[in-house]
Symmetry: C2
């Protein structure tokens, strides 16, 4: 087998499959509503399994309901895996998640119709409920809490009942756990969901890693007072303190070298009346970075500055951690391989951090992980007008195919 014999993916077939899947749960505005465990999700899972079988894969469902299509390799043993998800948020576009799954199936179809097999088996995985409980990839990484209540649906349905609908089994969920001897590498193709690629006119994003995240709730307490009668030097204005903290967050987010983003998206003033000096402000701080060390340094610096601001403004500040997700770094070898593929295919590329979560974030906790991004128009996602062109979808799938071919040599 030589690489040059391998054709490109079938662009028409890939894009037809994306359109066909978008018929299930179709919305009037061109988008899709296919929340996990709904009838639409079940139908879509059936369709995708039939395509896997057409592509020559053996299909199994693990205890977490993950659909695992396996295309045998010349040798048995650790697989090269790809995949993503086909469930959606309640109002979604047609590319988020779907592209990664259908491009994986298309890659296998092309190999299969050309009677080609890699040394490694190839797995295409549809992870369960990426958009809400994230239970599929977490189960595969062995990161499931023992309490099923932690995964209960918003509509009240217990997770056990949900998993039964898709042939999963909560009581056996520990068996969904896998390791690097089973999966040598995992490469996920995904739409960017941001606009770096589009705004720089770049075709392929090589993901350096998926950021870790801290979320904090910050409460600043001053003293509410009459805005007319209270002289400036007798105020303990919680908003005047809080706005300085927001600027601190923005400054550290902007000026520190690195991949971080730092955001105050939520801020609430009390009593929030035109003529009352604010007595209390609550705000939420969201900080994401590829480097855990850097995350810790940034949050440490913010906390120190918040306390200094509180002292200077005679207010009190409380800082409570609400969320912590560890970053996952993409394997250097996979990043390098994607770059070589882009160069050989003549595609423009750039390195970037993924600041949204992905199944690859969990899978990367037990094996080597990489991600390929293609552009999203205007960075829009989780909306009906999410759009990646057929050519861009095809380019992503071709990069995935060539990356698998190269990794097949590297990991053997």
């Amino acid at each position: 087998m030589t690489v040059t014999l391998v054709p490109k993916v079938n662009s028409d077939r890939l894009n037809r499959s994306i359109a066909q899947l978008a018929e299930i749960g179709k919305l009037p505005g061109g988008g899709v509503s296919r929340v996990a465990f709904t009838q639409a999700d079940l139908l879509a899972r059936q369709l995708v399994q039939s395509w896997m079988i057409e592509a020559g894969m053996a299909v199994r469902i693990d205890a977490a309901g993950n659909i695992i299509g396996r295309y045998a390799g010349l040798k048995e043993g650790a697989a090269l895996a790809t995949g993503s998800y086909i469930d959606t948020v309640p109002v979604a576009g047609r590319y988020d998640g779907v592209l990664g799954v259908l491009a994986g199936i298309e890659v296998v179809k092309i190999l299969n119709e050309n009677n080609l097999r890699l040394e490694h088996p190839i797995e295409v995985i549809v992870f369960t409920d990426e958009e809400c409980s994230v239970i599929g990839c977490k189960a595969m990484a062995g990161n499931i809490n023992s309490d099923p209540e932690d995964y209960r649906r918003r509509d009240g349905t217990p997770i056990q009942a949900c998993l039964e609908l898709i042939d999963g089994n909560w009581s056996q969920i520990a068996t969904a756990k896998r390791n690097s001897e089973e999966i040598a590498a995992f490469v996920e193709l995904h739409v960017e969901q941001a606009s770096i690629l589009e705004s720089t006119g770049t075709e392929i994003g090589i993901v350096k890693g998926i950021v870790g995240q801290y979320r904090y709730g910050v409460t600043v307490t001053g003293r509410p007072n009459h805005a007319g009668a209270t002289p400036m030097n007798m105020r303990q204005d919680a908003l005047v303190a809080a706005v300085q903290m927001v600027l601190t967050v923005n400054r550290i987010g902007t000026e520190t070298p690195g991949e971080q983003v730092a955001t105050v998206g939520y801020l609430k003033v009390s009593p929030n009346a035109v003529n009352i000096v604010p007595g209390r402000v609550e705000f939420a701080l969201d900080l994401r970075d590829l480097s855990q060390t850097h995350l810790d340094e940034s949050i440490g610096q913010m906390k120190r500055e918040f306390k200094a601001i509180a002292t200077a403004t005679e207010t009190q500040v409380e800082i409570a951690q609400k969320l912590h997700v560890l970053p996952t770094i993409a394997a250097p070898q996979i990043q390098k391989t994607i770059r070589q593929v882009c160069q050989e295919l003549g595609m423009s590329y750039t390195y970037l951090a993924s600041r949204a979560g992905h199944d690859a974030q969990e899978i990367g906790r037990f094996t080597e992980m990489g991600m390929i991004f293609v552009p999203s128009r205007c960075g829009i996602s989780h909306a009906e007008d999410e759009y990646t062109s057929p050519e861009q979808c095809t380019q992503g799938a071709n990069v995935l195919l060539q990356t698998f071919l190269k990794l097949d040599w590297f990991y053997k």
Copy 2:
């Protein structure tokens, strides 16, 4: 007649009258609820009129419902006037407004029981509905809009019906207007409703003037975006812009020399979600100053800085004026007289601006105006635990009495 013959006010009687009036509309926590035009307000008006008559005053009600008690002078002509109001916000203390009215009546009682008359008639005025429509003092200043809908009560009652309840007459309201030939000077005693006097251990506040006020609505528009996926340099974060504007307001309020206060008490973020870069922020700016020139300079400076911040943050800012009240300066002669009285009585005093509105603000638009402040515990007002001690009330009334005696010589 010589000043030295005049006794001090009767402290017991003054404070008994305050307690007695507080029985009407009494609340369980020691406060009072006596909203204008309610049964409690009507009862209180009857009681106060009876006290005016006891003090030797002729009482009339003008078309705005203002109660005007007049104690004849040795000469007819322009009066020296005092007064305030006895209506309250829905949950109030017992001193705000009431002290000014009852101290005025006590001053006249003392003169009357000592068979003393000034050259000038003395008027004690109870202004109608200071806490809501402010219709009494505005009518006396001739600043009433022709549309009665502008004064409709929050419960829907037309102002015409309200005025009828208190023997006023909307159709004749223009007749309530007065001028400086009728009132040579107006001196209002009031609780401070702030804590400058208490915190500095000062007995009497000599009001330099009542601040003017601007109120603006400011809207900052950026672009909402995913807080994870949007790099710092691709954001148009409306909150990052708005917080710089809040700091500008605070800096100009704090650092500019003068009596101004500048407040952002209301601020609303949209969409206000933890993981979304704010797309829009609305906030309210309240600016008060004794000097209209200074007010205009400050607001001009703020507008320039807001626009520069918007440009730097790639956001848009809209600034809309919501309110403008002109400042009223206390007559220098009245300020000087109050100071001399404090010195002669051995009371500590300080000059200060009134940053809350008062009837004197309107009366000062057509005649010479002054105000005497006594301390409010912790600056609390419009609350049941509003408190000024009996001694402090008496001190204020004595300053009012002596001020009238001196002004009687000055204005003749």
